[in-house]
């Protein structure tokens, strides 16, 4: 079941209605059942993987806390650490098997051929369970928090199982922290009309981003990347620029629907995006993009590696490691690793060049606070991130190479001025709608950046205006959305992670 399916639009009202009708102590059980049902609509057998991850981390956390309560210091640490390591390895083991086994086999095969051994490592037909990267990290985050003493281990297995499998954020985040989410799952949430309205509007915004913008851009981008030999040069540049918005709208769309759904249920999830394309640097970009994942890596990988506490060089190495791992988290190909590495490189380079930039700014008396300066830095940051998106979208190194070669060697800028762009899956009207929608998205993001929340502004109006805005929004999404016969329900891009 995907968010942009009829099934979900039937599923959600039923879940919400029964949730609020049930006694408070039964509600989390109902959510747990609904969450497993939600996942099992995709696959029954892979729901057992979630259960496995839940059991392992639940038991590990209990052992860790039990051991940490021992008065003897000698007895405490090895067992707790062993339990932590076992929990992490077992969970990561499952993730590695399903996600990286074939990648490792292919890499080993290539290496063996390069070294002359010519051995072909076996490739297994494994289906990647959707959301495995997300719920695994969520469970590991909880385990590490218990080990650090940041939270107490949860004794109620069903409550903990719900924390791991909570359906709005199960398959594509945000990756929640136990401190934020755990207690909300069982606290007495009365139906709050304002929260529900806000959640509903947030869901509408999410659907607009996903179904109107992301899925429309996908038609163009998939056509170009599917035939690079025909659509070279500026076609690839345009497709890559649009892909930046496709992935943003796809992922943020999902997050908005997830956060909106949770809000209707009276549960607050963390924000996952904060107008990332208005960032003035790569560092700022990662403060605004996929916030739950970047903060997870910061707290559970970067800081344990030493963070910035072990000297400049170690700091840069740690950052590079984190971004390589982040790239690998996104996909099991070298293109994703390179994508992550590029971001790590940009980040480190940015840090190295910061004093030089500061000196130049001073020398030239540039005002970094001026709007013009911000715009230039924003555009430059977008160009850097978009260059990295080329690796992400290509998904394999040979496509990356072909794309870059084509961009360098094909001179066809005229396609921006004739009708060439309107013959690649989207006619003129659809292309225009796509561009207008992206502009609207940017305007909303700019407003958000300036502290203006359009959603709250709509909710403050009287019920006639509110009703009109909501009904027009629904009609807009239904008319201009990419759905229905002839269009398959497009999965969210981040499902494959």
């Amino acid at each position: 079941m995907v968010f942009n399916s009829l099934g979900y639009l039937v599923f959600l009202p039923i879940v919400v209605a029964i949730y609020y009708l049930l006694p408070i102590r039964m509600r989390y059980i109902w959510l747990l059942v609904s969450s497993y049902y939600f996942y099992m609509c995709w696959s029954v057998k892979y729901a057992f993987l979630i259960l496995f991850s839940t059991l392992v981390t639940y038991i590990s956390a209990l052992i860790i806390e039990k051991v940490q309560n021992f008065t003897s210091c000698y007895q405490r640490f090895p067992f707790a650490k062993i339990s932590l390591v076992c929990g992490i390895l077992l969970n990561l083991g499952v993730l590695i098997v399903y996600k990286y086994l074939n990648f490792m086999s292919e890499t080993a095969t290539k290496l063996s051929h390069i070294l002359g051994a010519n051995y072909d490592f076996p490739i297994y037909s494994l289906i990647l369970p959707i959301g495995i990267s997300f719920y695994t990290f969520q469970a590991l985050g909880y385990l590490i928090d218990v080990y650090r003493g940041d939270i107490r281990a949860e004794r109620n297995f069903f409550k903990y199982a719900l924390f791991v499998s909570f359906f709005p954020q199960l398959v594509a985040g945000p990756i929640e922290r136990s401190k934020n989410l755990m207690d909300q799952l069982t606290c007495s949430n009365q139906f709050d009309f304002c929260d529900a309205s806000d959640g509903f509007l947030l869901m509408l915004w999410g659907y607009f981003m996903k179904v109107v913008i992301a899925d429309r851009i996908a038609i163009f981008v998939d056509s170009v990347y599917g035939d690079i030999a025909t659509y070279g040069g500026w076609f690839i540049i345009c497709a890559t620029v649009l892909f930046a918005f496709q992935i943003y709208c796809d992922f943020n769309g999902y997050s908005c629907i997830a956060i909106g759904t949770a809000k209707i249920l009276g549960i607050r999830l963390m924000d996952n995006f904060n107008s990332p394309y208005l960032s003035c640097s790569i560092s700022e970009f990662w403060d605004r993009w996929h916030i739950s994942l970047s903060s997870w890596f910061r707290d559970y990988l970067y800081i344990p590696l030493g963070g910035n506490r072990k000297g400049r060089l170690r700091e840069y190495v740690n950052k590079l490691i984190v971004f390589f791992v982040s790239g690998l988290w996104h996909g099991a190909t070298w293109a994703f690793v390179m994508w992550g590495g590029i971001h790590g490189f940009f980040l480190v380079l940015g840090d190295i060049l910061r004093p030089i930039k500061k000196r130049i700014t001073c020398l030239l008396h540039l005002n970094t606070d001026s709007e013009g300066n911000r715009i230039i830095r924003t555009v430059f940051t977008f160009i850097l991130t978009d260059f990295a998106w080329l690796f992400f979208r290509s998904q394999n190194t040979s496509t990356v190479k072909s794309c870059i070669q084509s961009i360098v060697s094909t001179h066809n800028i005229h396609i921006l001025f004739d009708d060439s762009l309107f013959n690649i899956g989207l006619d003129r009207k659809n292309f225009t709608l796509m561009i207008c929608s992206v502009f609207f998205l940017l305007i909303v993001d700019i407003c958000k950046n300036k502290g203006i929340c359009l959603r709250r502004y709509v909710l403050k109006q009287d019920y006639l205006v509110k009703g009109l805005v909501i009904s027009i929004s629904i009609a807009f999404i239904l008319i201009f959305g990419i759905w229905g016969p002839g269009f398959e329900e497009k999965n969210f891009i981040y499902f494959q992670f």
């Binding site: 019920y463 009703g467 009904s471 629904i474 009609a475 008319i479 959305g481």
Partner: protein
């Protein structure tokens, strides 16, 4: 204080409830409007007038595109005063026709249902081209019968198909970039569901098989013919089964037509198998080589059915009754349409086919008879009711004939009446008004493309 708080919270509750209700009303209203605006209009264009009828219709015609192109309700009104509607639908299996009928019976109670049994051999319930399922049902408002129809027709199909038919917005929402003026000013078909297909094709070869050869297989098509008969008999509606004419190059079609007649006898109802009759001339009356009738063929079939109904059923002539003004008005419009088709036609073959109509008198003045050597033109003149025979010296021909009430043609060698370069002149007169509304000069020469030149009065 407690009362005040209670009042405030209950009025907040009321306002929130109103807010939700208002939002739902706005959403439903906007979506209803958009559903009508964005849907493809073919179904509404064809069947709009069906829903506008105040009185019960006398006859409903059901079947495939053979019926759409083969039976003209306004001709039946003009000649016999019967009100009817052509509910034929393209590529439609009989199961779909059954449900079209059941939905139609929510709006009218006819005396007679005429079902064309093409599709007897078919085991499909839905048209192969799903767009035709839309054309069949989009015009019908949501009702229990529509839901039952969709449930029955899509039971072995993907559930999304039933969703599409129940709320066609799911199919048409992305037509926003295809809207034209016709989506706003819908050009409704005033011809009561009939559609003209204008051309003259060369028919395929076929052989007539013995009448005792039957189509033995039990099919979904046959099952739904029985359901239609039983449903009509339950409601006291007469049923007439037909097999409209086309070159029956597949023996199975003739076998099925024979089985149709047998089934009709079993149920005690009438049937007409046009295969074995010479009602139409395939050389002149086909739009395509093996399927649909052109206007000449359709007029013959419609007139035949009209006479048959007159002899075998008691259906009143409403031409002088009050309440049928729209029928007379639309028939006049239909006559204008027929005249315009003739006036603006430039293809000689089609022209000669179109003027084969009881409503028009045709006067042909001959200068040369070379065109009679061409079998196509010869058969077209025969179709007009003329016996044509060229004499051996080829300078003259024996041409005479009368077709129903049309005046006889005139033999003439007078070249002064029209340009001597032309072979013949055709004068077309409106029988009702007496107006000579079209005159053409026909040019024919071996090796050259024949032409007609319109000389208007």
């Amino acid at each position: 204080m407690k009362k005040k708080i209670s009042f405030i919270s209950s009025s907040k509750y009321v306002i929130r409830t109103i807010s939700i209700v208002v939002t739902i009303i706005f959403t439903v209203s906007i979506l209803s409007f958009l559903t009508r605006l964005l849907e493809r209009k073919e179904s509404v264009i064809k069947n709009h007038d069906f829903f506008e009828e105040d009185q019960d219709l006398d006859i409903l015609f059901l079947g495939t595109s053979h019926v759409i192109n083969g039976i003209y309700p306004l001709e039946l009104w003009n000649e016999y005063g019967y009100t009817s509607y052509n509910l034929g639908n393209h590529s439609t299996p009989i199961a779909t026709s059954y449900w079209i009928l059941l939905n139609a019976l929510d709006y009218t109670n006819p005396k007679l249902v005429v079902l064309d049994c093409l599709g007897w051999q078919d085991n499909n319930k839905l048209p192969e081209e799903f767009a035709y399922a839309h054309k069949a049902f989009d015009c019908f408002p949501l009702s229990m019968n529509k839901v039952r129809a969709i449930k029955d027709l899509t039971e072995d199909q993907d559930i999304s198909l039933s969703g599409e038919l129940l709320w066609d917005f799911t199919s048409y929402h992305n037509r926003w970039n295809q809207l034209t003026a016709d989506d706003f000013n819908i050009p409704y078909n005033y011809q009561r569901g009939a559609e003209w297909r204008v051309d003259v094709a060369v028919p395929v070869e076929y052989e007539i098989i013995p009448r005792n050869q039957l189509y033995e297989e039990e099919t979904t098509g046959k099952l739904y013919v029985e359901k239609i008969i039983e449903e009509c008999q339950k409601r006291d509606i007469d049923v007439l089964l037909t097999w409209l004419p086309y070159p029956p190059f597949r023996p199975s079609a003739q076998e099925a037509a024979h089985s149709m007649e047998q089934l009709a006898k079993e149920y005690g109802i009438n049937s007409i198998d046009f295969f074995d009759m010479n009602v139409v001339n395939y050389d002149t009356d086909m739009y395509d080589e093996s399927s649909h009738l052109n206007p000449s063929g359709a007029l013959k079939v419609t007139n035949y059915i009209g006479e048959y109904i007159k002899k075998n059923y008691e259906i009143a002539d409403h031409r002088t009754e009050d309440g049928y003004e729209s029928w007379s008005a639309d028939t006049n419009r239909y006559f204008e349409f027929k005249r315009d088709n003739i006036i603006y036609e430039t293809d000689p073959v089609i022209y000669l086919m179109l003027i084969n109509d009881d409503d028009f008198d045709v006067t042909i003045t001959w200068n040369d008879y070379d065109c009679l050597d061409n079998p196509r033109y010869s058969s077209l003149f025969n179709n007009l009711g003329l016996n044509t025979k060229k004499t051996r010296n080829s300078k003259s021909a024996y041409i005479s004939g009368k077709y129903l009430d049309r005046s006889a043609t005139y033999l003439s060698n007078a070249a002064e009446e029209f340009d001597a370069n032309y072979d013949l002149s055709v004068l077309v007169t409106d029988v009702k008004t007496g107006e000579q509304f079209d005159n053409i000069w026909f040019y024919y020469a071996d090796g050259e493309t024949p032409t007609i030149t319109h000389i208007y009065k």
